[in-house]
């Protein structure tokens, strides 16, 4: 089965190794909490990277889909007593349908206009979550019951860590499958040249819509998990700032690099925690790190480092 071993298999094994090995060095619940948030953000970013990095589209509204998933779980399990998995699935289907319907007009836009379109979408979702206080609790937010499935309740940092880690690994695996397939090539072709892709038989609109829906559904799933994990959610999850944060994670880690998206999510989730020592200067240092990365590592962390290692190995051989 030579086809099982691909260059990507190494990366996937490395990711699984990190996820499995990390508990050995995580000292307490606080670190687990950060790791779990990294996993949730990384899952969103892996999907968002398909849209931004591979297909070359932009979304400044993905926090909206994340929040819709979170609120679907919160409302359906809390107020209506649905089983959490059914609520999670309903949220994903709902976001899938919504993103599918909205993708048709939105993805006809290009560049700045697409950015504005998705930005507006995110803001509308945020406003609805804030205003529909009867349903969502408004700006005060709402509590979410814990995640119960198959007679078990996911409780405690170890169980959550294992669940989120598993979800991330499966997401990365499926994403790598997709990229290394006719669908993935078509997405990248749309990025490279829409005209040439169309004339090679690629239905450009269909693939743009597809990747938009896939990334939105993945964000919704991650949102549902987050809601159950956090136990309390507010409309801040749908905020514009949160959308920008997600895009920054993708860009920082490296566009069109799935592991880059994971690394970007990890860095931008951990950095604010690590910078608490700087207190008032926290945002200043945070901004400096971002600017430094964008100026000196323009392709993003993972592609740049991978390129450096490749060059280093080549020169070592010569």
């Amino acid at each position: 089965m030579a086809s099982l071993w691909q260059p990507r298999t190494g990366g996937l094994l490395a990711l699984a190794g990190v996820v499995a090995g990390l508990p050995l060095i995580l000292p307490n619940a606080f670190y687990y909490d950060v790791a779990i948030l990294v996993g949730i953000n990384a899952t969103v970013c892996v999907g968002l990277n398909l849209l931004i990095g591979y297909a070359g589209q932009i979304s400044l509204g993905h926090a909206g889909f994340f929040a819709l998933g979170a609120y679907a779980s919160a409302v359906l399990t809390g107020d209506h007593g649905w089983p959490p998995l059914a609520a999670l699935a309903a949220g994903a289907v709902g976001v899938g349908v919504l993103s599918f319907v909205l993708a048709q007009p939105i993805l006809k836009l290009k560049g700045h206009y697409l950015a504005m379109g998705t930005l507006g979408l995110g803001i509308i979702i945020s406003i609805v979550l804030n205003q529909e206080a009867g349903l969502t609790g408004g700006p005060d937010g709402m509590p979410v019951p814990s995640l119960r499935a198959l007679g078990h309740t996911v409780a405690g940092e170890h169980a959550w860590y294992a669940l989120v880690g598993l979800v991330l690994i499966v997401s990365v695996w499926l994403t790598l499958n997709l990229i290394d397939s006719p669908v993935g090539r078509a997405l990248q072709a749309v990025h490279g040249s829409e005209s040439a892709a169309a004339l090679a038989g690629v239905d450009v609109i269909r693939y743009k819509v597809l990747v938009f829906v896939v990334s939105a559904v993945l964000a919704s799933l991650a949102g549902s998990l987050f809601a159950h994990y956090a136990g309390f959610i507010t409309p801040a999850e749908a905020s514009f700032a949160r959308s920008i944060e997600l895009v920054t994670m993708v860009v920082l880690g490296g566009m069109a690099s799935t592991f880059g998206a994971v690394v970007g999510a990890a860095v931008l989730t951990i950095l604010p925690q690590a910078l608490t020592a700087f207190q008032d200067f926290k945002m200043l240092v945070f901004g400096a790190v971002l600017m430094g990365t964008m100026i000196f590592l323009r392709k993003g962390l993972v592609p740049t480092l991978a390129g450096l290692i490749r060059n280093w190995m080549r020169s070592g051989r010569a």
Partner: protein, 256 residues
């Protein structure tokens, strides 16, 4: 047999018309050239035939079907393929994957089988990867099989476009200025390549400024001027048409 028939085709951009009431037919199995001075509407015509532009009026028939309203990807399915004057390479992909995109219609582009990487998808991908390598060898790109498209020189990228266009397995191949930017040796190789492609039964339509290439390969030439048909005929007829010689090739054109 007529493969492509254009009837009363017009395309205007605002008040100015790029193609005006143009009618012509192209029969299958030959090499055709479309010539004319800059601004004659040659590339516009290619964009209309390949579906990147919608005509203002008129009809395009391909292989006995009315394709006027079809989007580009459906025309590819009908057997139309093209290259671009300004290269449209997927620079974010490897050279081989550029050709693989050309095989998109032949591969399994469904979402779930790709997501789960079903063995059928993998097998078909592998088969077509071999064919893509063979195509790259055919156009003389064997040295670039493992290269990234963004690391290839201009001449190689032009061949890569050709390989990708051939991967669509077209009945008709539109080549928009394939010799532009090539040196005489490369142009001679291109000449040979075009003849080989035509010999496989693919109808080739060229838009070209390199008249030596046009005279050498064309069985039939269509001359455009200001979006209208000036004349059409064999190379010999065009060369000896006083209007064409005077207006487009210059007084010395006849002696070339």
């Amino acid at each position: 047999m007529t493969l492509l028939r254009v009837e009363h085709l017009s395309k205007s951009f605002g008040p100015s018309s790029a193609i005006e009431d143009l009618s012509f037919a192209i029969s299958s199995g030959t090499i055709h050239s479309i010539i004319g001075p800059n601004g004659a509407g040659k590339t516009t015509l290619f964009n209309l035939i390949s579906g990147l532009y919608r005509p203002t009026s008129g009809t395009i028939w391909f292989d006995d079907a009315d394709i006027t309203a079809l989007p580009p990807h459906r025309r590819a399915r009908c057997g139309l393929s093209r290259t671009f004057q300004n290269l449209q390479i997927f620079l974010n992909l490897s050279a081989l994957d550029n050709v693989m995109v050309g095989y998109h219609l032949a591969c399994d582009g469904r979402f779930l089988p790709s997501l789960l990487r079903l063995p059928s998808v993998v097998r078909r991908d592998r088969d077509y990867r071999e064919r893509a390598v063979a195509l790259m060898r055919f156009v003389g790109l064997e040295a670039f099989v493992d290269a990234g498209a963004d690391a290839m020189p201009y001449g190689a990228l032009k061949r890569l476009e050709l390989a990708r266009a051939l991967a669509v397995q077209p009945k008709m191949l539109l080549l928009d200025e394939p010799a532009a930017g090539l040196n005489p040796k490369e142009t001679a190789e291109l000449d040979f390549l075009i003849q080989q492609i035509a010999a496989q039964g693919i109808t080739v339509v060229l838009v070209e400024h390199d008249m030596r290439l046009v005279w050498s390969v064309s069985n039939h030439i269509l001359v455009l001027d200001h979006g209208r048909k000036l004349t059409e005929g064999t190379g010999w007829e065009i060369r000896h048409n006083e209007d064409v010689v005077a207006a487009y090739l210059g007084e010395g054109g006849r002696h070339r």
